[in-house]
Structure formats: structure tokens, C-alpha cells
């Protein structure tokens, strides 16, 4: 039982015996208490299991309360370094999924899409799956079968997804749903620094003098980070928010730039232009640590504030204000999220932020740097170990001879057997449409809600000859599959995730899975065994996979070799790279001024702004942008089943400015070139008059992604969720929210049956206006 010696405020923590103080007390907090294992809160005899939230990339620590019968029944705040007891509504209600009546407890199967899904034995489902894999691969080639993973899986499982596709199925087609989330930032980080992670830990926010949040709705998508933002504000830091909507954090920002969606790189180029004009660049830093500065300088000269103001639809003075605030601050930080990444120029947007940080010398110091906020719990870890189409474990490139050889050595296969690079998630759907991919295994993802342009996605999936899905609830995508495997939920298995700071944290097992439910690890290994690759998949559980993952990542930039389960339990989290078991981890990058490029410099990149993919015209003059709301998580498969969260946000809405003449709650039809849907209007001045916002967590006919465009960033292949051309019209009736699908024989859970007759939208973006229900 060791305390984490790195308290946020630099105090040395005196280890106490946490059993002397219950969780939540000051004594417990001072103990820095992270129990080595299960620990009894003796006041009512329950067991508290230390773990982390399954949802976003903050990875808040929490305890799951387990009763005498070994069942999870509640949550208790945990004083973990990341969140310091704080939780958001998703985290508080997360435990309710574990023993939810909608849990899948037996495999579901049908031999053709004309039949209904029925419950079958594991053997039957596995046999059918394996025979279909063999049939499709023998008839149409190995690459006719694809695998799509997820970034809510533990890192061990994401590693296994990549290995499963390339070693068991021997297909090049493997990708994951982090393709919709993090890849723009990843691409930019690789180009600039040759390392794919945020540069600074969250605790640095408390030390900064100027915090810039670009396209990051911290208050709703990463609520627990708000304490850091307010902490910086308490110390007098300047807060700058770049967002077309006045979000809860933008409301009190010193400068809120409500720019037009899809113009971020023009804005940041112009900010850099002003920084140069006013002589605020850090020339000494640039000379010592950056390349490409002259080209960048020449390029941003074409973005004077007057021009950028026109492109972005903001006053030119704001650009000057931001430039001065950011460049004059002794220490400044920039964080960005999906708002600037979900674009056909997502990589450029992120690069323009990195250029700004580099030119002002705000890199690699306590309280100065940049970061990206991951949306999924393992958005960071999910892309590190070979789940991505072009990457192998440890962030190695599948195109690099040397890298391929190293991994083949770990996997015990010939280099010639390792497939080439695959394609991205959306491209795989297009290939399904063209019958190039005829079979698919989807592991914990829900593209029917989360991919853009639903019509194309549905057609792609319907065209496949065989589709299997792993999930613990019957998602909209799983309801369309031939086989659904019921797998464990996060509280029923152990494993690690890497949060948005690249801090690896360990999730612990709180209860045994229900009868009939197996782990994803077991299911993948069993399919591999039946395909004849059993010797390569002899894993007993997460621990065995993690040991191989550590070996596979050794010597790379993303080095996990010094991270062990025991160390994670002891310290509460270690940031990679961590090359040896006595290495403390690397919470902050570039402290010595060197990056991971061979020359050790930051490679600044020239960024040109171009208009978004979906052109505006008289028919579609407005911008549709999509995003999240605090009560729901991504495709909503998990959160749309939890009563408290459904009550908080029962349905999507269309956020419009009062100038359009809509009354609150009135039906508003949003029309794009892909289709049209009717939402209740949420009329608020907190959005640009030329912009409409819809949260995307719901399926058709209330799916924002039925309207979005499937245009991709050419480099990162991320879809352009954040901007497409639309118009709004009056309509007669609001489209109803469908209830989440349930397995045959299950009764739909009454709390998820939203009253669909009179669901007024929330009167403020965050909730329904009041918690009063008496």
C-alpha cells in the first residue's frame, strides 16, 4: 500500500492506513489511498472495488460498490489523482449498466437477414461464424473479410483485435471507431513531433496563465476537467474558447470566439500572423527547436486579420485579442477536441494550433504546452497497439520493413504472412457497398449511429454476406447482424486504458459475468483457435495479453515495457513512454526541448485553409454541426438505457438562433443533401445565427448522422461531422425517438421508453431545465 507521491500541488503525501478513514474523508484523501485490492467499507459490509469510469478519455477513478452476493449495485467517489472525487452524470450512472435487464446473456444468430435473431449456444454461433469466415475467404480472398474494433475496449483487447485480424484472419482490413474521434490529432502530432499523444498532463492546466480551448466543449464532453479550467481561472489565467456555440465554459471565458464551423485553420493562421506582426514570437526557441518556420511564416502572411475575419465570421479585433493574450502569457496552453478535428482539414487544423504553440515557445514546460482531449475512454490507448489500419503494436508502421520484422518476431509468424495496410472505417463501409468486403466482425462499436451518412452505412452493412457483432447490449448495428456474441462489460474484466494524458490506468474486475457471457478476449481467441491459429492465441486473460503487449511495445516510442499491473495498482497510473520497471513514466513531453523526430526538432507544417467539402448554395445556406450532450455517450447504446440519463436528456433537438422565428419546442425540419429529419427546436442565443446544432447520440429517424456528409480528411480519414450545408423549415410533427433494441424474449426496460408524445427539448443545452418531477 503505497501512496502516490506526486500530489497535484507538489505536497509530499504521507501514507496512512486508508482503513482508518472512510473514502471521502480528509484522512482518506491525505492517505492518497489507493487500496491495493478490494477493501471493506465496514459501515455497511459492502465491498468497494477501485476502478475507473468506462466512458470518456478523462478516465475518472471511482469505486464500484459490490454487495454480499458479489453484484455491483452502486458507485462511490474515489480520490484518484485525475478526478479528485469528482464524477459527471455519466460516471455516476455507469454502474447501472452492469446488471441491466437489457444485458445480452446468450449468443443470437440467424442464417439470413430474412429470419429473426434467436438465442443459440456459443458452440453453434462460433461454428457458424468460423464456417462463414472460411467460406468467404476461400471464395473471395482473405481481404474479403474485415474486422472493426472499438476504442472503449481495454488496451489488451485492442491489441488482440489487431493481432486477431492479421494473424488469425490474415486480412489487411482492420480498423476501429477511434477513426471517428482522434485520428486528426494523431496525424498532426506524428507530423510535428513524431509522437502521438498530448504533451502535458491535466494538472498543468492549474499552472498556466492562458488556456485556449479550441472546439472542446469541456463542460459537456469532459465535465470533470472543468475543475482544472476553473482552477486556472481562480489563479487569474485568461480563458479563451473557440466554438460556434456559447457552451457552459465559453459563457464565462475572457474571450469567446464564435467562429463559423470549418474555418479553424484560417483563424489560427491569422492569430499567428498577428503574433508575428506584433513581434511576439519566441525566436530563440524557434531557432533551437523547430524546422520549417520560414515557410510557415511566409504562408501565414496571407492570413491578415481582415481576411480571416471574413472567412471565420468573427470581428478582426478578436483575432488580435487572442494573439496578444496567448503570446504575451508567460505560460500558455492549448487544448483541442473534436470541434477542430472532425473536418476534411482536421489534420491541418491541429497543425495550425501546434504552429501557434511552437512559435510562441509554449511547448514542454509546466503550464505551457498543448493537448488533445480524447472522446472515448481508451481513445488514446486504442490506437497505440495495432488496431489501426496502418499501425502495428507500439505505434509501429505496417509499411516499414524493420517494424514488420520486429512484430512478426513477437507474434511468431513469417514477415511474408503479415498483411499490408488496410483502409479506414468509412472506406471499409464503401468497400462493403462495392462487395469488396463481404464479411465483417464488429467488436464493440455502433456505426449505425456513429458513422456519417446513415443511408450509405446501412446499405454497406446490408450488402455483407456475413456480419457478426460483439456487444453487451443489442446495439442498432448488432440488431442488423447475423451473429451477436454477448461479451463482458468493463466491470466484469480487468485491463488497462490510456487516458487523454497518455496515463495508463488499470480497471479492476468487480463482479463475475452473468451465465452465458464470455470476455471479448476469450471469444476472439476461440474463433482464432477454430481457424487453426490457436497456438498464437493461448491467452488465459487480460494479464497474459498485457505481458505480450509489453514485449511488443518495448523499444518503441509507445513503450509499455516498464508498466505492470502491480505498478498501476500502486501508483494509480503511469504515463508512457515507460521503458523500465523503475522508470517513473513521462507525464510531460519535450521538457528537454527535443521531440521524437530523428533531428529532435518540431517540424512545423504549412497549413492552407480550404472550404469544407459540402458546398453552400441558395438551397442549403446554413451550417449543420453535430456534437455531444453531457448525459449521453457517443452512439448512446450504453446511456440511452439508463433511466436517469434518459430523463435528463430524453431526445435530440435542433439548436437554432431566435432570428429564424421558431418558438421553443416547435418542430423544425433540418434538410441536407443526404436527407431531412424533424426535431424540436431549442431556441437560444447561445449559437451563431447561421448554424444549427444537433446532438448525435440517437438512431434514425432522429439521427444527426442521417444528415451528415461522409467526406473524409485525405490524411487522417476522419469524417467531416462538424460542418455540412443545410436549411431549416417549419414542419408539422416531430420525429419520434425509437426505443433501444432488446434481445428476443427480453422486455424493453420501461425507463428507456421515453414519453414520445410531449417531450419538450431541454430549454438549456445541458438538460431539461429543471430536475423537478414531483
Amino acid at each position: 500500500m503505497t501512496a502516490d507521491p506526486r500530489a497535484a500541488d507538489g505536497r509530499t503525501v504521507v501514507p496512512l492506513d486508508p482503513s482508518l478513514a472512510p473514502p471521502g474523508t480528509r484522512g482518506f484523501r491525505d492517505a492518497g489511498g489507493i487500496p491495493a485490492d478490494r477493501w471493506h467499507a465496514d459501515q455497511n459490509g459492502e465491498t468497494l472495488v477501485p476502478t475507473h469510469c468506462c466512458f470518456c478519455g478523462v478516465q475518472c477513478g471511482m469505486y464500484l460498490r459490490v454487495d454480499h452476493g458479489g453484484k455491483v449495485f452502486g458507485v462511490e467517489p474515489r480520490n484518484h489523482d485525475i478526478n479528485r472525487m469528482r464524477l459527471c452524470p455519466k460516471g455516476i450512472n455507469a454502474y447501472q449498466q452492469v446488471n441491466h435487464p437489457d444485458r445480452l446473456t446468450a449468443p443470437l444468430m440467424r442464417r439470413s437477414r430474412d429470419e429473426e435473431l434467436r438465442e443459440v449456444s456459443w458452440d453453434e454461433a462460433l461454428d457458424f461464424t468460423v464456417s462463414e469466415i472460411k467460406r468467404i475467404q476461400q471464395t473471395h480472398g482473405r481481404d474479403a473479410f474485415g474486422v472493426l474494433g472499438g476504442a472503449s475496449l481495454f488496451s489488451e483487447k485492442t491489441y488482440l483485435v489487431g493481432k486477431f485480424a492479421r494473424v488469425a484472419l490474415k486480412t489487411r482490413h482492420v480498423d476501429y471507431n477511434g477513426r471517428l474521434c482522434m485520428v486528426s490529432a494523431a496525424g498532426a502530432n506524428k507530423l510535428a513531433f513524431n509522437i502521438d499523444r498530448a504533451g502535458n498532463p491535466f494538472s498543468d492546466i492549474l499552472l498556466t496563465d492562458c488556456l485556449l480551448l479550441a472546439g472542446a466543449n469541456v463542460g459537456e464532453c469532459f465535465p470533470v476537467l472543468t475543475q482544472y479550467v476553473w482552477g486556472a481561472r481562480d489563479r487569474g489565467a485568461t480563458l479563451i474558447v473557440i466554438d460556434p456555440r456559447e457552451t457552459a465554459v465559453a459563457r464565462t471565458a475572457d474571450i469567446h470566439v464564435a467562429l463559423r464551423s470549418g474555418t479553424d485553420s484560417a483563424f489560427f493562421n491569422s492569430v499567428l500572423n498577428v503574433v508575428i506582426e506584433e513581434g511576439l514570437t519566441d525566436e530563440a526557441y524557434l531557432a533551437a527547436h523547430a524546422t520549417g518556420w520560414e515557410e510557415v511564416k511566409a504562408n501565414v502572411a496571407q492570413y491578415p486579420p481582415a481576411r480571416a475575419a471574413e472567412i471565420c465570421g468573427v470581428p478582426a479585433e478578436q483575432i488580435v485579442q487572442v494573439a496578444r493574450a496567448f503570446a504575451r502569457a508567460p505560460k500558455a496552453m492549448a487544448f483541442h477536441a473534436r470541434g477542430i478535428e472532425h473536418h476534411t482539414q482536421g489534420v491541418e487544423n491541429c497543425l495550425s494550433v501546434i504552429n501557434l504553440c511552437t512559435a510562441t515557445g509554449h511547448i514542454g514546460k509546466p503550464g505551457a504546452g498543448y493537448g488533445t482531449l480524447t472522446g472515448q475512454g481508451n481513445g488514446q490507448g486504442g490506437r497505440e497497439h495495432g488496431q489501426k489500419a496502418d499501425l502495428l503494436p507500439g505505434g509501429r508502421s505496417i509499411l516499414n520493413e524493420e517494424h514488420r520484422r520486429q512484430i512478426c518476431e513477437v507474434w511468431g509468424i513469417e514477415e511474408s504472412e503479415l498483411p499490408a495496410a488496410g483502409t479506414s472505417m468509412m472506406e471499409m463501409v464503401w468497400q462493403m457497398q462495392r462487395r469488396e468486403i463481404r464479411g465483417l466482425i464488429g467488436i464493440c462499436n455502433n456505426p449505425f449511429v456513429s458513422l456519417p451518412n446513415y443511408a450509405v452505412v446501412k446499405e454497406g452493412y446490408d450488402t455483407t454476406e456475413f456480419h457478426a457483432q460483439f456487444d453487451f447490449f443489442l446495439s442498432e448495428t448488432a440488431a442488423n447482424a447475423h451473429v451477436v456474441f454477448p461479451v463482458t462489460i468493463w466491470a466484469e474484466d480487468e485491463g488497462v486504458m490510456a487516458n487523454a494524458e497518455a496515463r495508463v490506468v488499470k480497471h479492476n474486475k468487480a463482479q463475475e459475468p452473468p451465465a452465458g457471457v464470455r470476455t471479448d478476449t476469450w471469444a476472439m481467441c476461440e474463433i482464432a483457435r477454430r481457424l487453426g491459429a490457436g497456438d498464437k492465441f493461448a491467452f488465459g486473460g487480460s494479464r497474459d495479453v498485457f505481458d505480450e503487449l509489453r514485449r511488443a511495445s518495448a523499444g518503441t516510442v509507445i513503450d509499455y515495457s516498464g508498466i505492470t499491473y502491480e505498478r498501476l495498482e500502486e501508483t494509480g497510473g503511469i504515463s508512457w513512454p515507460c521503458p523500465s520497471t523503475d522508470h517513473p513514466g513521462t507525464p510531460r513531453l519535450f521538457e528537454d526541448g527535443t521531440t521524437y523526430h530523428t533531428d529532435g526538432k518540431i517540424h512545423m507544417q504549412v497549413v492552407e485553409w480550404h472550404p469544407p467539402a459540402d458546398p453552400y448554395d441558395d438551397e442549403h445556406p446554413m451550417t449543420l454541426t453535430t456534437g455531444r450532450t453531457v448525459a449521453h455517450f457517443l452512439s448512446g447504446n450504453q446511456t440511452r438505457r439508463l433511466g436517469a440519463l434518459v430523463e435528463q436528456t430524453p431526445r435530440p433537438w435542433a439548436e437554432v438562433h431566435p432570428s429564424h422565428g421558431f418558438r421553443n419546442g416547435e418542430p423544425v425540419r433540418v434538410v441536407t443533401r443526404r436527407g431531412s429529419e424533424v426535431f424540436p427546436a431549442l431556441v437560444t442565443e447561445a449559437i451563431r445565427p447561421d448554424t444549427v446544432f444537433i446532438p448525435y447520440h440517437w438512431p434514425v429517424p432522429t439521427a444527426a448522422n442521417a444528415l451528415t456528409i461522409d467526406a473524409l480528411d485525405p490524411r487522417s480519414k476522419i469524417p467531416e461531422y462538424k460542418v455540412c450545408a443545410c436549411r431549416i423549415e417549419h414542419a408539422a410533427t416531430i420525429d419520434e425517438v425509437p426505443a433501444p433494441p432488446v434481445a428476443p424474449g427480453h422486455v424493453a426496460y420501461p425507463e428507456t421508453q421515453v414519453s414520445r408524445t410531449d417531450p419538450l427539448p431541454p430549454t438549456a443545452p445541458q438538460g431539461r431545465g429543471t430536475s423537478e418531477r414531483s
Partner: protein
């Protein structure tokens, strides 16, 4: 205000409803939330404000004063408890008396329910559930000294005026430091009584 109490800072609130969800998890009224979360300027701002029971000190708990069944008891440390279920008759006098609109009536059970500062937790030295989880510190539990140590220059108020009446509370509100008004005007101006316009 009480020694260890809740401080409400609306300027930090992001309206996420973590407190609402956390309140449901409390073992004393599991499944029901006692927090009121209001969006104060709907349509023009996302501003929001959580209200917990203010645990009035002077006059001592208006809700308890008007209770005909003596069901609302106040502990020695100033916490105004939820109505005792063996005494409460569900008459809703307390609902009408409370200047902050805190108590709720469960119409089916004919019982009053309200925040009791998580007495099941605070009695053990734990913080109330809402203030424990609040991601922004809009609900803070501790002493005034602890609050000031964490947020330099913070100003709080524990006296509110409703028409002619002044109420001093056990829970305090953070007020804008540069515009301190003392006491804090509460509620809305009285416009009419029994159909008569009483605006001066």
C-alpha cells in the same frame, strides 16, 4: 453559516446535473433527487444554478416553524432534517413556507422529502454526495477557511432578503466579489396580494 457546510457558486456551474444524479445515489432516499437545478436565463444563456436545502438558521428553519406535526427536526449542528416519516402528514405547509422552494411532496406517499445535507454521510465525516462529485466545485463542502484557501479572494453571503423578511442560512452562496450586495436580494418582488396591486 454552519462550520462545515456547502458553498454554492453559480459562476462555476455548468448545468451537467452530476449533483442531481449523485443525490439519487444517496442511501437515505435512493432513486430520488433532492437537488433543484435551474436554468436561470433560458433562451439567451446556458447559465444554471443548483439549489440544495439552505438549512436556515434565523429564523430557524421556516419549514420547521410552520410544520403542524413537528415533523421537521433540526440537529445540534444546525442541519435541518427531512420530515420524520412517522410524523409527516403531507400537508405541504413547509413547501409554501420555504423561501427557496426546496422541499418536495411525494404525493403518492403523502410525505415531504428534502435535502438533509446527506446526514448519513456527514455524520461519518464524509462530504455530501452532490458536493463530493460536483465536477466544477459549484457545490463545495468544507469550512469558509478551506474555501478561501482554495479560491483566493472569494466572497460569500449567508443572508437573503425576501420583501420585508431577512433570512440567514447555514448554507452560503458565493457572490461576485466586485459587486457585493449585502444582504442578497432573494426571490421576486411582490406584485399583487389578493388581486390588489401592491407595487409602490
Amino acid at each position: 453559516m454552519m462550520g462545515r457546510t456547502i458553498f454554492i457558486d453559480p459562476g462555476r456551474c455548468i448545468g451537467c446535473q452530476a449533483c442531481v444524479s449523485a443525490c439519487r445515489e444517496c442511501d437515505s432516499h435512493r432513486g430520488k433527487s433532492m437537488i433543484h437545478l435551474d436554468y436561470t436565463d433560458e433562451g439567451s444563456s446556458v447559465a444554471s444554478l443548483p439549489t440544495v436545502c439552505m438549512h436556515c438558521e434565523d429564523p430557524v428553519a421556516p419549514c420547521a416553524e410552520v410544520c403542524p406535526a413537528d415533523a421537521i427536526l433540526v440537529t445540534a449542528d444546525g442541519v435541518v432534517q427531512q420530515a420524520d416519516t412517522t410524523r409527516c402528514i403531507g400537508c405541504a405547509n413547509c413547501v409554501n413556507a420555504c423561501p427557496f422552494g426546496v422541499p418536495k411532496i411525494d404525493l403518492q406517499a403523502k410525505l415531504q422529502m428534502k435535502c438533509n445535507l446527506c446526514y448519513d454521510r456527514t455524520a461519518y465525516g464524509l462530504a455530501p454526495m452532490c458536493a463530493t462529485v460536483c465536477p466544477t466545485g459549484a457545490l463545495f463542502y468544507g469550512t469558509l477557511e478551506e474555501l478561501q484557501a482554495e479560491r483566493p479572494g472569494v466572497q460569500v453571503a449567508d443572508t437573503f432578503v425576501f420583501g420585508e423578511s431577512e433570512v440567514r442560512t447555514g448554507v452560503a452562496m458565493v457572490v461576485p466579489a466586485e459587486r457585493v450586495q449585502w444582504p442578497v436580494p432573494g426571490g421576486l418582488p411582490v406584485v399583487e396580494i389578493n388581486g390588489k396591486d401592491v407595487r409602490r
